[in-house]
């Protein structure tokens, strides 16, 4: 039962990364692909109906983590105290950037929130990537199984690690690049004219960088987390996760010109594959430790199995309902957002 919840949670986090990921990407590219005020309006309109719903996947993942793995929730959230507070503040700025911009008709007001939206999107992807990197690398758990990580120490992957070191920064940059591409592909798919052309250009330029970064991250992960190679030999089926990511990586480039929708879905598969690979790399631990023997396993972190079983009874129908709402909203969206148009 704990393993079932581990993979459900990985799926939920993956869904969050895929969905909110593209509006983060759009945010990062806000000044790159949209040059005028009306073009920036177009970008915001293209995520307007869905970004809030996408962010709810984060809140739902947080709640699910709390209910299913209370010990993990408590240990990880207090250990990541400082970066989480910063993430909360960045999320606040991002939401305000999207929602307050259109309330007051003044160029300075618009510019302020454009910058807030763009900068917070970029920093958030970096932090989320670094958080994922921390999980894969392992945490400085003490003998009580708790930890408190400073933001950085000496940027080396030693015994006294910080949130940011060369490895987690590498993962952070890879995540930011991947989501920038993901956002660009959303814009290729959902907009037309100059915005669409510039977004396609971004994809063409960033794609080789993403390939290199993915390769580097994969090699570094194998070096930093030995569990990864052990798991591959023990559960060869798990190789599906990185293979999905690889297929997505190839697909987003291959379909770029022929089918923007497929290219976007391929980059979604890439993001999902990355999250799944990270989950596979630490399985069966919930929190790997820097010092062997102190890790927190999925079984130890989980609530008791009767609770987990009861939770499944309301969670599955609830999430089906939630996906139905999401589908309903996505299906109602206009096919393309034209600059200067009004598809509200």
């Amino acid at each position: 039962m704990p393993a079932v919840w581990f993979w459900l949670l990985a799926l939920l986090l993956g869904a969050y990364a895929v969905l909110d990921g593209f509006d983060f990407g759009v945010g990062m590219l806000h000044f790159v692909v949209a040059k005028t005020r009306t073009e920036r309006d177009t970008l915001l309109r293209s995520i307007g109906p869905v970004w809030d719903g996408n962010e709810v996947y984060l809140v739902a993942a947080g709640g699910t983590l709390f209910g299913a793995f209370p010990l993990l929730y408590a240990t990880a959230f207090s250990g990541f105290y400082l970066p989480l507070m910063i993430v909360l503040w960045l999320l606040l700025f991002r939401s305000l950037g999207i929602e307050l911009r259109h309330h007051i008709d003044n160029p300075l007001w618009h510019h302020l929130w454009d910058v807030a939206f763009s900068v917070s999107s970029a920093l958030l992807t970096l932090f989320f990537g670094a958080a994922l990197g921390n999980l894969v690398r392992g945490l400085p758990l003490n003998e009580k199984g708790e930890f408190f990580e400073p933001l950085w120490t000496d940027f080396r992957v030693g015994d006294v690690t910080g949130i940011l070191d060369w490895y987690t920064l590498l993962v952070g940059i890879t995540a930011a690049t991947a989501l920038a591409l993901h956002g660009a592909l959303w814009l290729v798919y959902k907009t037309d004219g100059d915005v669409c052309d510039r977004s396609r250009n971004v994809v063409t330029r960033l794609w080789p960088a993403l390939v290199l970064l993915t390769l580097a991250t994969t090699l570094a992960s194998g070096a930093v987390q030995p569990q990864l190679t052990r798991n591959i030999t023990r559960y060869p089926l798990g190789a599906v996760c990185p293979l999905v990511a690889l297929a997505g990586l190839a697909g987003m480039r291959a379909f770029l010109h022929s089918s923007p929708k497929r290219a976007f879905l391929a980059s979604g598969a890439f993001v999902l594959g990355l999250i799944a690979s990270a989950a596979f790399a630490i399985f069966p631990n919930a929190l790997p430790a820097r010092i062997a023997g102190r890790q927190l396993s999925i079984v130890d972190a989980a609530a008791q199995s009767s609770t987990l079983a009861g939770m499944l009874c309301w969670w599955l129908p609830g999430m089906l309902l939630a996906s139905a709402y999401s589908y309903f909203i996505y299906a109602r969206m206009p096919k393309t957002f034209t600059t200067g148009g009004d598809e509200h």
Partner: protein, 442 residues
């Protein structure tokens, strides 16, 4: 301040600020549904105009609620790790349910309500508004349910290591404390929503602006406000007080400022609690009233705080006493103001009674104060426990997070929330200046 004190202060501060917005959105969402129903029933476009005005403000309040609400969920883990470790298997359930059942619904329909009125047509837009209202009220239920478990835990077992396991989902969701506290809380939110609408209507009527729409809006808000103000005292407030008396007797004594056991106990209206001397200084009392209100008989015994061991006393008795008295005092004031307004509305003269309109307009901040004071009563009254009789507050905070880190986040939140307040007021004042019937422009 100690490390524990800082954790408590941070949660109290961020929660108090956060709840200014949800009480408004839950209350406004209900008023909005009523306005839209009136528009359809009476085939009156004016109610639609009023509804559109409030939809825009609801959108802003909703965003504020979301951005200040996400930190609340996180802080269970960041600041209260030991509590989450021990009780997470239970309270994590209701918090997860809120995300899955309420937030997805709200975030999906909010966009439809805000931007798609034209496309949906009146009937489906009404349905979307009802769905939004349902979402916000569901959200309120799951949160109150979480709090109810902490106030009056049931449906659990404790294992030898001290961890609380959930034994019965139905006992968690059907906790009587949850349902009474929820009713009282939602009535409180309805007061905030209706008073805000009434105050805004009075603001326009007093300036002779948008008179037709403003008067209709005022009428609807006063009727809702009257019903809510009465229900806040009876039955919901009364029932809540009886629950506290039955299950948290020392809290009841502390919030009433009732130090010594008495037969035929009087009720203190005003006075300053003097905890060292165990008495109320400068009291104004109604004799026998406390006995009568709690047991409906004049000569019953009410236990005083001194009957209970000190280590079970709430740790901030004066603040608890004031919070409760502010809430109850304002609640009485609301009943008076709404009774008067309803009477004038019935006679058809409310729209010209400038004195009463002034009062309605100036009363707008008071429901926010009353709701805040009410929650302070609940939360200070729960002390010294995090989970009543099971886990003390001092044993629940994150021991890995030092005071330096906590102070860092407190200062950050204070700065950001000060900025949020300024932004919110900028947008609200601009909306007020545009008037009720301003053409859509965003």
């Amino acid at each position: 301040m100690t490390a524990l004190g800082l954790h408590r202060f941070q949660f109290a501060f961020t929660l108090t600020y956060h709840y200014l917005f949800p009480q408004l959105t839950m209350g406004l969402a209900l008023v909005l549904v009523v306005l839209k129903l009136l528009a359809r029933r009476r085939r009156d476009e004016d109610y639609d105009i009023a509804a559109r005005f409030w939809t825009k403000l609801l959108g802003v309040a909703f965003v504020m609620g979301v951005v200040t609400g996400i930190p609340m969920e996180f802080q269970f883990g960041t600041n209260w790790a030991r509590f989450s470790r021990i009780a997470g298997g239970v309270i994590g359930q209701t918090l997860a349910m809120e995300g899955v059942f309420a937030f997805f619904l709200e975030s999906s329909v909010l966009y439809l309500v805000l931007f798609q009125e034209q496309k949906l047509g009146p009937r489906r837009h009404l349905l979307a508004t009802i769905a939004l209202c349902t979402g916000t009220w569901l959200s309120g239920f799951f949160i109150t349910c979480t709090n109810a478990f902490m106030q009056h835990p049931q449906g659990f077992v404790i294992d030898p290591s001290g961890v609380i396991h959930l034994e019965s989902f139905s006992a968690l969701l059907l906790n009587p404390w949850a349902w009474i506290e929820y009713s009282h809380t939602m009535i409180g939110a309805t007061i905030t929503g209706s008073f805000t609408v009434a105050a805004t209507a009075a603001f326009y009527i007093l300036q002779d602006r948008d008179l037709v729409v403003a008067k209709k809006m005022l009428g609807a808000a006063v009727v809702i406000g009257t019903i809510a103000a009465c229900c806040a005292a009876f039955p919901t407030g009364d029932q809540q007080a009886k629950l506290v008396l039955a299950h948290q007797p020392e809290t009841f004594a502390a919030m009433e400022g009732h130090f010594h056991t008495e037969i035929g106990a009087g009720m203190t209206l005003i006075g300053q609690p003097n905890v060292e001397a165990l008495r109320i200084d400068n009291p104004i009392r109604i004799p026998y009233m406390l006995s009568f209100l709690t047991h409906q008989r004049w000569n019953t015994e009410i236990k005083g705080l001194t009957e209970f061991p000190r280590e079970r006393w709430p740790d901030n008795i004066p603040l608890l006493y004031y919070a409760y008295h502010v809430m109850a005092g304002l609640g009485s004031l609301f009943i008076g103001l709404m009774a008067l307004s309803s009477f004038l509305l019935y006679r058809g003269t409310l729209g010209h009674s400038r004195g009463v309109l002034w009062l309605i307009m100036l009363a707008f901040p008071l429901p926010f104060v009353a709701n805040t004071a009410g929650w302070m009563t609940a939360e200070l009254g729960r002390q010294p426990w995090l989970v009543r009789d099971i886990l003390r507050t001092s044993a629940g905070s994150s021991d890995q997070v030092g005071p330096g880190s906590t102070l860092f986040s407190i200062i950050g939140f204070m700065g950001l929330y000060a900025m949020l307040s300024v932004l919110f007021f900028m947008i609200v004042t601009q909306q007020l200046r545009r008037g009720l019937s301003a053409k859509e422009h965003a």
